[in-house]
Symmetry: C2
Subunit: 221 residues, 2 copies
């Protein structure tokens, strides 16, 4: 293990289970909860990549709303604004994965931060709601840069804010494409491969692959 | 209709049916042809967006190979390099949609070009194999720019090569995200919505929506 000074976590899918919105989707559209949640997540990611590349930034709340609307149109479901807002609110009440508090406790000797596509408002809300705020030194949003991961300028934000060199930052994400982005940038990288997916074929490999954050604690210590 | 001087076509999905590789996939992996083709296309697009954003360009032949490998791993199919190369070759023998020659004939009064993510080699091969080469003034590849659509620098390449101002270029694509990219850039844009998909929610709308290229001929003339 290289000498790590800081651990920087992705938020959605890594600390917080984005598919815990399934219940809210299922409540509003019985029988469609799982399908809505899957397409919504895929579209949400696509729209961040596309807008960053088009240089047409809109913040994550807007992109998330747009992705949800596309999803409901695609599934030919009838909806109004109140349903859209209710489902978007579910995004502020995501649950953390069960092992997260114990893992963050174990990582307390390091500087800890979140680096996410979410807006500061979305991130602070979900971190506060899950009782995790005290664990983190910094909560960093792409919003001030007006771009999205895996633009290297996003990863650079962690370096400049934490004052730690790239290789001494352990970047932790469950998203294979984010892992590739962080590794290409120069972080030491751990992939939390919760779903047993294959490696993304983007020309780099993470330094560590674990199934959950407690496995990562064992690997680092 | 604005005064159009040039018509610029996307290639894959617009002139050439990317799902005509289904047969080759089905031959190599009976029962999986449709599924391989769908995931392969999705991953191929994702990898272009991600690599452009990561500033880790690899050309479309490489990205296409990587996307196919990911797809076969995800589906847990056994394969070797000869199968991969055989399926990639099928990509050079895509078929054009049936109405393409008649539509291109009708568009002959305009300057015609292709603007595509493919390499020059891939594009020249498929255009020659389908007998369409004589219709086009220019075949423009992102390869010289080392980035991918919808990076506005790609669309700018059509302006600088053709010497026609943005709004007098009719950009034609079947891909909703490419339509959004071209429109945000400033082209006059037609979406060939072959599959009756909903509009992408990326903050812009195309000028025209048609089901196929002959419908577009009627709209423009």
């Amino acid at each position: 293990m290289r000498v790590i000074e800081a651990v920087v976590f992705d938020a959605y899918g890594t600390l917080f289970d984005v598919h815990s919105v399934v219940d809210a989707c299922e409540d509003s559209f019985p029988g469609y909860g799982e399908q809505i949640s899957q397409i919504w997540r895929q579209k949400q990611l696509e729209y961040t990549w596309l807008r960053a590349l088009m240089r047409q930034y809109a913040n994550f709340e807007e992109v998330n709303r747009d992705a949800l609307k596309y999803t409901l149109h695609q599934l030919k479901l009838k909806f109004d604004n109140s349903i859209v807002e209710r489902l978007l609110n579910a995004y502020l009440r995501l649950e953390h994965y069960s092992e997260v508090p114990q893992a963050l406790k174990a990582f307390q000797p390091y500087k800890l931060a979140i680096l996410s596509n979410g807006t500061t408002n979305m991130l602070e809300t979900v971190v506060r709601n899950t009782g995790l705020r005290t664990y983190f030194n910094d909560i960093l949003s792409v919003d001030e840069l007006q771009t999205y991961k895996p633009d290297p300028r996003v990863y650079e934000l962690a370096v400049s804010t934490l004052g730690v060199v790239k290789k001494q930052i352990l970047f932790v994400s469950s998203n294979g494409w984010d892992v590739a982005g962080g590794k290409a940038f120069g972080f030491t990288v751990a992939w939390v491969n919760r779903q047993g997916k294959p490696h993304e074929e983007l020309g780099v490999r993470p330094d560590y692959v674990v199934r959950n954050l407690l496995e990562l604690v064992d690997t680092v210590s």
